[in-house]
């Protein structure tokens, strides 16, 4: 335990460093600081900078990627709160890729607890285990961890900067630091003398930062309130720069085709027709695919399509049914985990009614709005990569491998992301862009995938199956025994970055084993399927299928028990986790839930606790002349502290719509080893006319801070299925629902 204490103390060492014309504030980690992205002068200690103050003003480095979740603005607010500057006066940049920005909260999620029952001790332990993140050099945006991660660090950086600047002013004016005040980016003396931070920056760089206390939340003027997002004007005027928009001098445009039998080889190709097509400058052999560099992206796409290729076979059974046979067979093997095993599920309680059900969910694509693309410039000695990405340090080292360069010779420029949802935590697209650019040294080349290439070369949400067995007695759940089988996204992702994996996969069963219900006999087991279909992290990860499995089965149990489905859940939850129960009570009140609906109207409730945040949803569907429309939705969530409630609301609605899109229409299937969906007409989503009118309530009773970007997704799928059951009496045990219900499209 002693060593953990040591790590805890050292995890949050705020420091400063003199820079040309000013001062930087940031965090020193653990024992040995990670390489400093700002490249300190010789003799200076490396610092992981969050705040930089110079003659130009105050600049903040946001080490997390802005995928649309408002993280840049909220990180800025954390600093501004303590530093006493106005949000409008801060410049926010994506920090350069640096191991120093490791993601401490995400590693905390790896602890073997259910989350909602976390004690303060475990909470601290989780934070301490964050140091593992540094070992793995994870600078990853995902797992809804951004705010949990930055919450302490950014405020400490802001407070330390403030007090150091005050000390610089105190030295200059010959007054005690305690007598000085700060506001609007300046230090103010008792006599009214005002010195802007910019003028104190150089002197502050020479002072050892004093120890600071963080302000009490009751004193906050910025946090907890809504602030206009810093990226909003750019994103409303077409001036926000995404990776697909970067235009370095002399840029060429490329497009790519990789074997659609995923992971298969390329036997041969014939590019003779493509070579003479307009605008074509170079055909590139990628080993497992081909690319064309041209003067225009569209011309490159036409030419790459014209290449005749003989593709090798896929390393997995080529048809969807055969894949699901393999998934089903994994139930016969040894369980990979039993993360929950309360009471004794082998004994059927006296007088109880047993029910069983089997569920099956499809593979899913991320389908980010911006198709995969990256730009690279290779000089032989250095490599520059421009990419919207969720993991710059991984991209940097993986590109270095391809280019045969030292990691330090690779510069990753992170742009805005046109959607991430987990897809841009991979590094395939930046490796491909690197290979393409290496075929034309000293020329920047942008490699853009067609939508078809994007849809058919994803790291998919794994197809998953569940076998559920439960029992009800006297209107209550007395036994819940769940089995879940799927490919392990964690094993695969770890394998891709070269980190050994194995052992119980908690993510495979998250959303099922860790739900806050007091059921006396309660077991959840996971089964890992060994298949080579590329799978990865899809918004909410394991919760995206377990949310549906676990909650739909609870709905079936409530029905079997003859109980109102909302009251049935609430009763089991009340003694187990009050914030979760609070969310259910909130949607009950918001929707005027009575358990009764008029003819032609159905309502369903769904609940999932994920990423530290319980979310309850009620969905209402209406039958309009035989076509079913999703009419209304009510959402309640409790992530403890909501740093910007307006942004949280947006994430809850967006997360729910992402889940409804998958539940209603989403499905990736395979034939002859190839994905059968090509573009949005085959993989549609919720649109303006199919989106429900939605009301959100953000509660703040949870003791620990939870995420916002993902928890809105899992409960949407069961809530919609449960509503359709209420409307039609037909139970949805597979998705998408458009196969079995006449949904409005």
């Amino acid at each position: 335990m002693a060593s953990i204490g040591k790590i805890l103390r050292r995890t949050f060492l705020i420091g400063s460093a003199a820079i040309v014309g000013g001062v930087a504030f940031g965090v020193y980690y653990v024992n040995r600081p990670a390489p400093n992205p700002l490249k300190p002068q010789e003799g200076e200690t490396a610092l992981n900078p969050f705040v930089l103050i110079d003659q130009e003003g105050v600049t903040l480095f946001a080490p997390r990627a802005e995928m649309g979740q408002g993280v840049m603005t909220t990180w800025a607010a954390l600093i501004a709160e303590e530093l006493d500057v106005e949000l409008d006066d801060i410049r926010v940049l994506h920090g350069p890729a640096a191991a120093a920005y490791y993601n401490s909260a995400m590693l905390g999620e790896a602890l073997p607890n259910k989350g909602y029952d976390i004690s303060d001790f475990q909470h601290n332990l989780a934070e301490a285990l964050g140091v593992l993140g540094k070992v793995l050099s994870l600078q990853v945006t995902g797992g809804s961890t951004s705010m949990k991660d930055g919450f302490e660090r950014m405020r400490e950086a802001g407070a330390t900067a403030r007090e150091t600047l005050k000390q610089a002013a105190a030295d200059q004016l010959g007054v005690d630091r305690g007598l000085l005040k700060t506001a609007k980016g300046a230090v103010i003396a008792p006599d009214g003398t005002t010195i802007p931070y910019t003028e104190l920056a150089v002197a502050a760089g020479q002072i050892d930062p004093p120890h600071v206390e963080l302000r009490d939340p009751s004193e906050w003027r910025i946090l907890g309130k809504h602030h206009p997002r810093v990226d909003m004007v750019e994103k409303s005027t077409g001036t926000a720069e995404y990776a697909i928009d970067v235009r370095p001098e002399g840029l060429k445009f490329a497009s790519v085709r990789i074997n659609p039998k995923l992971g298969g080889e390329m036997n041969s190709f014939d590019a003779s027709a493509a070579e003479s097509m307009p605008g074509v400058e170079k055909i590139v052999d990628l080993g497992n695919g081909v690319a064309v560099i041209a003067s225009n992206t569209w011309l490159a796409m036409q030419a790459v399509e014209a290449i005749e290729v003989d593709w090798g076979e896929a390393p997995y059974p080529p048809e969807t049914d055969a894949l699901f046979d393999v998934i089903a067979a994994s139930f016969d093997g040894k369980a990979n985990s039993a993360m929950r095993d309360d009471g004794d599920v082998s004994v059927m309680p006296e007088g109880a009614t047993e029910i069983t059900a089997a569920y099956k969910l499809p593979y899913l694509a991320h389908a980010t709005m911006e198709p995969m693309n990256a730009t690279a410039l290779f000089t032989g000695k250095t490599l520059d990569i421009w990419a919207g990405n969720q993991a710059p340090t991984i991209i940097q080292s993986k590109a270095a491998e391809v280019a045969n360069l030292d990691t330090e010779a690779v510069n990753v420029h992170t742009t805005y992301l046109g959607g991430g949802f987990g897809r841009k935590g991979e590094f395939d697209y930046t490796q491909i862009a690197t290979k393409v650019a290496m075929a034309m040294p000293n020329v920047p080349v942008q490699t853009t995938w067609s939508r078809e290439e994007d849809m058919r070369h994803d790291f998919y949400r794994p197809g998953a199956m569940a076998r559920m067995r439960g029992a009800v007695k006297d209107g209550k759940a007395v036994l819940y025994d769940g089995q879940i089988a799927a490919q392990s996204a964690v094993y695969q992702a770890m394998g891709r970055i070269g980190v050994p994996s194995g052992g119980p996969d908690k993510v495979l069963v998250e959303g099922a084993f860790n739900q806050p219900y007091a059921i006396p006999n309660y077991r959840v087991r996971g089964y890992v399927t060994d298949l080579q279909v590329p799978v990865g992290f899809w918004r909410s990860v394991g919760n995206s299928f377990n949310g549906f499995f676990h909650d739909t089965f609870l709905d079936e149990m409530a029905h079997a028990a003859g109980r109102d489905p909302l009251e049935f859940r609430l009763e089991l939850m009340k003694s187990e986790h009050a914030p979760s129960a609070g969310c259910l009570e909130a949607v009950r009140e918001m929707s005027g839930w009575s358990g009764e609906t008029p003819d032609g109207v159905g309502r369903g409730v769904g609940f999932c606790y994920s990423f530290g945040t319980p979310v309850a949803q009620v969905i209402e569907v209406v039958d309009e002349d035989g076509t079913i429309r999703i009419n209304k939705a009510w959402i309640a969530c409790d992530m403890g502290l909501a740093l910007d409630p307006n942004t949280v609301e947006a994430q809850m609605v967006g997360g729910m719509i992402y889940g409804l899109s998958a539940a209603a229409y989403g499905e990736i299937t395979f034939a002859e080893g190839e994905v059968e969906q090509y573009n949005f007409p085959d993989y549609d989503a919720i649109r303006m006319h199919t989106a429900p009118v939605t009301e959100v309530r953000v509660l703040e009773t949870n003791r620990h801070m939870g995420g916002a970007g993902e928890p809105g997704t899992p409960p949407a799928m069961p809530a919609l299925g449960n509503a359709l059951f209420d409307l039609t009496g037909q139970r949805a045990r597979t998705l998408p629902l458009s196969h079995s219900f006449d949904l409005l499209i």
Binding site: M67, G68, Q69, G70, H226, P228, R229, M232, V233, E234, K235, S236, T237, G238, T239, A240, E241, Y242, I244, R247, F253, P278, G279, S295, N296, T297, W298, L299, M301, A367, T368, M369, E370, P371, Y416, L417, G418, G419, G420, F421, T448, S450, R451, T647, A650, V653, G654, G655, I657, Y658, S661, N679, F680, P681, A685, I686, R687, M688, H689, T690
Partner: protein, 154 residues
């Protein structure tokens, strides 16, 4: 033979094969990257621009078929001088990733030009070709209503 185009009031000579879609002329030749590529098959609306005021999918219009003056998101307003519709988008904090929003704004602007106070049903009808994977639809709807009100005041 170069083809002449008028884009946001400026004349351009473009030397590209005549079947290149307007989208890729704008993005890769003229350097106007506010108009986005999402699907290439008229299924997402990210590429929406105006030709003579009409909202069209620029991924479907060949260079040689451009029949009138082109307006892109850059021609609607700038960060320092936003159009009322863009201001409404900012006021409602519509964007998440923001990638679809140029197309959404161009589609909504064409709707409002034709119908100064659209009902919810009319918004559904006009906007259903514009996909937003981030799910910003409720705020888009609210921003269109606000913009309609502002445009009437003016």
């Amino acid at each position: 033979m170069p083809i002449s185009l008028t884009i946001n009031g400026t004349a351009h000579e473009v030397d590209l094969p005549e079947d290149v879609p307007l989208l890729w002329v704008l993005r890769d030749e003229v350097g106007l990257t506010g108009t986005k590529f999402g699907c290439g098959v008229a299924a997402c609306g990210a590429c929406t621009v105006h030709i003579d005021g009409e909202a069209v999918r620029s991924c479907q219009v060949a260079l040689s078929d451009v029949w009138g003056d082109v307006t892109t998101i850059e021609g609607v307003g700038t960060p320092d001088a936003m159009a009322k519709i863009q201001q409404a988008w900012v006021d409602h904090q519509v964007a998440q990733c923001g990638y679809c929003q140029s197309g959404q704004i161009m589609q909504a602007a064409a709707l409002l030009a034709e119908n100064p106070s659209p009902s919810d049903a009319e918004i559904d009808e006009a906007m259903q070709g514009n996909l937003c994977r981030c799910g910003t639809y409720p705020r888009i709807r609210a921003a269109i209503h606000t913009a309609a009100g502002k445009l009437k005041e003016a």
